[in-house]
């Protein structure tokens, strides 16, 4: 639907041919067994996320964005349809292929920042030196060098999310799913974290699927914005964000930015 290839220049990323999709969702539907009977939550969702792309999903509250992401992560089963990640179906969590970063930092308060980042490595019994080395590298990548021995409660909201991102990246999965990771942060921290995320992303060439409520954040981060309707959630629009990269704060003041934002807002209002 959206043809973006001519405008996208992503530093540190190779231009990937569009047919090489990291995530392919076909005819996915989901029905909950609610208290008052079956509730259709997601309806006939089909989408394809190219390898190395940054795709943002927006939509009204309760439209099933998070459910969709949980399904992409293999954390929840869908009623119908298929999800392929690099050609293979997703049915269980597979941290080697897909990393997930949650709304609240969801760091373990009994572990230091470094131990939190090491956690997924220790789950699969990686040797101690390797764990330390990789976690330390991630800590530097997210700009928290020297904070490794702190406990989560000793870190600010933004720093916690940096640790959370580091934890999601430490197993080096090609796909990163992010469920409103910056929602709990104040506006200023949120913009800084968005900028940071783009910096990290440009260094790691991951495929990112990112959920947010913030339209500014959506336009600022995305290669492509998917707009979902109110329940049952469907994808009602795909908007290519043709701003150049690297993105800068100044771009937010441009007409192009404003128009994109306006278009998404219009779609969401229609959807609600």
């Amino acid at each position: 639907m959206a043809n973006l290839s001519q405008t996208m220049t992503v530093p540190g990323q190779q231009d990937t041919p569009p047919e090489k999709a990291a995530i392919e969702v076909a005819n996915l539907s989901h029905i909950y067994a609610g208290a008052q009977g079956a509730v259709p939550a997601l309806e006939d969702i089909s989408m394809s996320v190219g390898s190395g792309r940054f795709v943002v999903i927006v939509g009204p509250s309760g439209c099933g964005k998070t459910s969709l992401l949980m399904m992409l992560a293999g954390l929840r089963a869908q009623s119908q349809g298929t999800i392929l990640c690099h050609g293979r179906p997703i049915s269980n969590p597979d941290p080697q292929r897909v990393g997930v970063i949650f709304q609240e930092a969801s760091l373990y308060p009994w572990l230091t920042a470094l131990d939190n980042i090491e956690f997924p490595l220790s789950l699969r019994g990686a040797p101690r030196d390797e764990r330390r080395r990789r976690a330390q590298a991630m800590l530097i990548l997210v700009g928290l060098e020297g904070f490794g021995e702190r406990y989560p409660h000793e870190l600010s909201g933004g720093m916690k999310q940096r640790v959370s991102i580091a934890r999601g990246l430490v197993q080096d999965p090609p796909v990163l799913l992010m469920d409103e990771p910056f929602a709990a942060l104040d506006e200023q921290t949120r913009m800084t974290m968005g900028h940071e995320l783009l910096r990290i992303w440009s260094k790691t060439s991951k495929t990112v699927v990112f959920i947010t409520h913030s339209l500014t954040e959506a336009v600022f981060l995305a290669d492509e914005v998917l707009v979902m309707s109110a329940r049952p959630g469907r994808i009602i629009d795909r908007i290519a964000v043709t701003l150049t990269r690297p993105r800068t704060y100044e771009m937010m003041a441009t007409d192009a930015f404003g128009q994109l934002r306006e278009r998404i807002w219009h779609q969401i209002r229609k959807a609600d």
Partner: protein
């Protein structure tokens, strides 16, 4: 007029303790309260010293009973609490029952226990063990039930097996509640043992209280009370110390807000990149 800084709470607490001890010594000496009702601190300490072999023997009996009662209460309480709190069906079925049982004055069971187990240590251990069991069990169940589901979701997303979810997430996450339960449970085990010794016994510190009260030997009653007091406070401080060491992230939780000051939007290192 500059407001004077309040003295540190620790200093105030020590001052209160010293005042209390001084009053304990001075009030009976001045005759305000007869020594029969309140023997002076020095008289109490004197009989404690004179009869130290008796009090030591009694303390050992009490400690032995308390230790076994705690073992029953903590072991049983943690296991039952984990099972009841962890399995939704059992929780809905049993938790209301346990919660309401907690409100029953357990001491009414003690006569039954003496009939079953005799007046030796066994009846004290059984009674105090059950008495202390409930808070440990309820606290553990609550601790497991209130674990942030996000913790488990995150662990699953990182590929944790079911066993790993239990050992690496559920157990550490419920530790603070479990420890709170243990602290309370241990204190109740001490109470349970002492009370049952006071009711029917042939040994232990509680027994010494009752025995000396019946012969109006106030100094010896107070010597026994003093020992119980020291025992309880020592237990509480020990429990807190262990808790602080094990549940690091909770005990330091309140203090440092340093991160807020320098964290903010951007850490300098990152901004440069």
């Amino acid at each position: 007029m500059r407001p004077r800084a309040l003295p540190a709470p620790a200093k105030v607490r020590w001052a209160m303790l010293v005042t209390l001890l001084l009053a304990w010594e001075l009030v009976p000496r001045t005759g305000l309260i007869p020594e029969l009702l309140l023997p002076a601190l020095s008289s109490t300490l004197k009989v404690l010293y004179q009869d130290s072999h008796i009090y030591w023997a009694a303390l050992l009996v009490t400690l032995y009973e308390v230790a076994l009662a705690m073992l029953i209460a903590c072991g049983g309480g943690i296991i039952t609490g984990a099972v009841v709190g962890g399995i939704a069906r059992l929780r809905d079925l049993l938790l209301p029952v346990f919660s309401s049982l907690y409100a029953v004055p357990m001491v009414i069971l003690y006569p039954v226990f003496t009939a079953w187990f005799g007046i030796g240590s066994e009846s004290k251990i059984a009674f105090a063990g059950i008495y202390a069991f409930f808070p440990v069990m309820l606290s553990t169940a609550a601790g497991i039930r209130t674990i942030d589901p996000q913790f488990i979701l995150a662990a699953r997303s990182m590929g944790a097996t079911l066993t790993q979810q239990v050992t690496r997430v559920i157990i550490p996450a419920s530790l603070p509640a479990v420890f709170a339960g243990l602290r309370l449970g241990g204190a109740l085990a001490i109470i349970g043992v002492v009370v049952s010794e006071m009711l029917t016994a042939a040994a232990g510190i509680g027994y010494l209280v009752t025995l000396n009260r019946t012969i109006l030997d106030s100094a010896r009653v107070f010597a026994a009370l003093l020992m119980i007091l020291v025992l309880s406070v020592a237990y509480y401080m020990l429990a807190r110390a262990i808790e602080r060491r094990v549940v690091v992230w909770q005990s330091v939780g309140r203090a440092p807000k340093a991160a807020q000051a320098e964290g903010g939007p951007g850490v300098p290192v990152a901004a440069a990149a």
